[in-house]
């Protein structure tokens, strides 16, 4: 069974699958099980998915989360893809989903997700992580907790250290 890691490093079985973007001219094949589909395709065919709580969306790193403004909380799962771990756009996408668009449900990191990036992802609002298959999920809890605090405000805390010090 595939695994997904929670924000505190617990390992859960993962029921969700990611549906790749169909090739040009082909239509989206919607599985009858929990599935994440490309965010723009969900938006374009939204009426087809009414009542399907087991359909979520995923963003690729070049996509703009603003396209779902006002709609995000209709979804129970949103994923952001990291095509390469060095592509840092997903961190901004996550913060915008949480802080700008007010998304409150599950936000997962998918793709080239490695252990040493988890701490940053967590601070930017991700609460589920699908590690790249060759990485050891048992180490996630340690890597999520190297730091007990950060200097800046982010999604996890809106109070930067300079304000905590002042009090």
């Amino acid at each position: 069974m595939p695994e997904v890691i929670t924000h505190d490093g617990a390992i859960l079985n993962d029921e969700w699958i990611v549906v790749e973007r169909p090739a040009e001219g082909e239509s989206l094949d919607i599985p009858s099980r929990p599935a994440l589909i490309p965010a723009d395709l969900w938006l374009a065919g939204k009426e087809h998915f009414l009542g399907r709580q087991d359909i979520g969306v995923w963003f690729d790193s070049h996509q703009e989360p603003e396209m779902l403004e006002g709609l995000v909380n209709e979804l129970s799962v949103i994923a952001v893809n990291f095509p390469k771990f060095a592509d840092g756009r997903g961190y901004s996408i996550a913060r915008l989903l949480r802080e700008r668009l007010g998304y409150e449900n599950e936000l997962r990191a998918i793709g080239d997700v490695l252990l040493d990036q988890l701490q940053f992802m967590k601070r930017c609002g991700f609460d589920r992580f699908v590690l790249r298959a060759d990485k050891n999920a048992e180490e996630a809890a340690r890597c999520l907790n190297f730091f007990t605090q950060g200097y800046q405000a982010a999604t996890d805390t809106d109070i930067p250290l300079f304000r905590r010090r002042a009090s």
Binding site: F85, R89, S92, N136, F147, T148, Y151, Q152, F162
Partner: protein, 550 residues
């Protein structure tokens, strides 16, 4: 100087343990080389031609004597007994062993130092004017703002994987720019608006490297309280829209150019509107608290000692030259700013031995409140020296090799480590610097030539800032042979400009004569009050071309 509180100490200690864990996994083969790469780079660790190189952060150039002594001990215990001051006000070790780096970091943390984000595609060490707080024409001391930026940028979770490296510099002086802010990704100039409110003029998209550019102004006035929210908006726009398909087009300058400065500014303003009133907006209390770390040292009430100095200068010509070139005016009566030059001919620019680091610590303790500043010209500044101690200080530092009276002259070369150490380099740079220094060894002649910035880089990455040298030298590789291309007319100061390429490149052995010909053209054409750059700007590049390629 900034002093860690319990939060800073905890974060620094946790960072050491994190890097220890990462190094262990890398050595155990659990992390692939390309996965460990950004982790070690964000900790200043390069794998170089001869050994790893560790770049240690010196936030905005400030070092205490205690830190200097710790650096001396580390170079002795873990390296070959010398270190290198870089053009980003940092310190590099050239020979540490990878497995020792966590222990080095632990020792650094004990003296409130680190190597965070000194490399990699993240926000790098913020730099500023080495005369901060001691000069009389600054709008406000820039260092509290540099420390505010340091803390905000340290392990910023959103900006650890930017398209490319990102450098911020702050300048506070009204009349000079020793921080070269217009050739940074973000350059901040402290200003006051018409109501006397303190803030920044914001330049974005300057830089050197393959595509050198002077950074345009994208905001004329940013109130100081909005510093971090605005930086966050700039970085977010860059992180989202900066190019990631081509490493050579990934710096923010390319994005600013593509969108136009106005188009870029509009995107930043739109982003900023959402976050400007967030809790990241600075409070007056917080700003005041940061300022308390950079208060004046305990200056004594002493008068200027013009007459004594005049007598000493009259009686000793070498002292006179040193005062004229390496000593600057101070805002306090009776004090002076002294630059220790690390440019003695025969020593690679910026290199210091462990013993010299301790000597610098000793003179800092004795003459300048135990603090120094590293400059991006690879020298070291004692910012608060009593004028009546100048002669004594000069006598002390002369045998140490720090009193070469060539500050800002042709032989005060900015130079990267080059092909002798760096695996990126196309050509060696240190031997070129040395050959030119040997050619121009007559101080009187050097003084007659006046201020000339000679900057040498061993490759396109431009660590030696060659684009903004009045005379810039770039090492190039031609079919496996080292050649050197010259550019003229660059400047990193208020009148920032990118130099123009003179023409085809030269072999290394020809370089001293080529530079001599360039200087001759200047000497032949100058009017009485013209410095090198003025003459160049008046007569253009052609007379130089004609002479050099005749």
């Amino acid at each position: 100087m900034y002093v860690y509180d319990e939060h800073d100490r905890q974060i620094a200690a946790e960072r050491v343990e994190q890097f220890r864990d990462q190094t262990r996994r890398a050595l155990a083969g659990e992390l692939a080389e390309e996965e460990f790469l950004p982790l070690r780079l964000q900790n200043g660790l390069y794998v170089q031609r001869l050994a790893p190189m560790l770049r240690i952060a010196v936030p905005y150039g400030m070092l205490s004597s205690k830190q200097l002594r710790a650096l001396a001990r580390i170079t002795r215990d873990y390296d070959k007994g010398y270190a290198h001051f870089t053009t980003r006000q940092n310190v590099q070790l050239n020979w540490p062993a990878l497995e020792d780096v966590p222990d080095i970091l632990a020792e650094l943390a004990e003296v409130e130092m680190h190597a965070n984000q000194t490399s990699g595609n993240c926000i790098r060490n913020t730099t500023t004017d080495q005369f901060s707080g001691a000069q009389d024409d600054e709008i406000a001391d820039p260092r509290p703002y540099c420390e505010i930026i340091r803390q905000w940028s340290t392990f910023h979770p959103e900006f650890a994987f930017l398209p490319r490296k990102f450098k911020v510099a702050v300048n506070a002086s009204e009349h000079s720019d020793r921080a070269a802010i217009q050739v940074h990704d973000i350059g901040l100039q402290l200003v006051r608006d018409n109501n006397g409110e303190l803030g920044f003029r914001v330049h974005v998209g300057g830089g050197l490297g393959r595509t050198p550019m002077v950074g345009p102004v994208i905001r004329e006035f940013l109130p100081e309280k909005d510093l971090l929210t605005y930086l966050e908006a700039v970085l977010r726009v860059y992180n989202r829209y900066g190019r990631r398909d081509n490493k050579f087009k990934a710096r923010i300058k390319i994005l600013v150019k593509a969108l136009t400065p106005q188009g870029f500014a509009e995107k930043v303003e739109a982003e900023w509107a959402h976050i400007k009133d967030s809790p990241t907006q600075l409070t007056q209390d917080a700003i005041e608290k940061f300022k308390t770390y950079f208060t004046e040292p305990a200056y004594e009430q002493v008068p200027d000692v013009k007459e004594t100095l005049a007598t000493q200068r009259f009686e000793n010509r070498a002292f006179d030259q040193w005062i004229a070139h390496n000593v600057d005016a101070h805002k306090k009566p009776g004090y002076a700013i002294v630059t220790l030059t690390m440019k003695k001919t025969g020593t690679p620019p910026g290199d210091v031995t462990d013993r010299q680091l301790e000597q610098i610590a000793d003179v800092a303790d004795q003459y300048s409140f135990g603090e120094v500043r590293v400059t991006h010209q690879q020298n070291v500044v004692l910012a608060d020296v009593r004028q009546d101690k100048l002669f004594e200080l000069w006598e002390a530092i002369t045998p140490m090799g720090f009193a070469t009276a060539n500050l800002n002259t042709l032989t005060d070369v900015i130079c990267c480590p080059g092909g002798d150490y760096c695996s990126l380099a196309n050509a060696k740079s240190i031997p070129v610097a040395e050959a030119i220094q040997r050619k121009f060894d007559d101080l009187d002649y050097l003084y007659d030539i006046g201020d000339v910035d000679l900057n040498i880089s061993g490759c396109m990455n431009a660590c030696g800032h060659h684009h903004v040298g009045h005379i810039g030298v770039l090492g190039v590789d031609k079919k496996g042979q080292e050649f050197y291309q010259i550019s003229l007319g660059g400047s990193s100061h208020h009148d920032a400009a990118i130099g123009k390429i003179l023409g085809p490149s030269f072999a290394r052995e020809d370089m001293p004569d080529v530079v001599k010909k360039i200087i001759d053209v200047y000497v032949d054409n100058r009017t009485q009050e013209e410095a090198f750059l003025d003459t160049y700007r008046r007569i253009g590049i052609d007379p130089f071309k004609e002479r050099v390629y005749a």
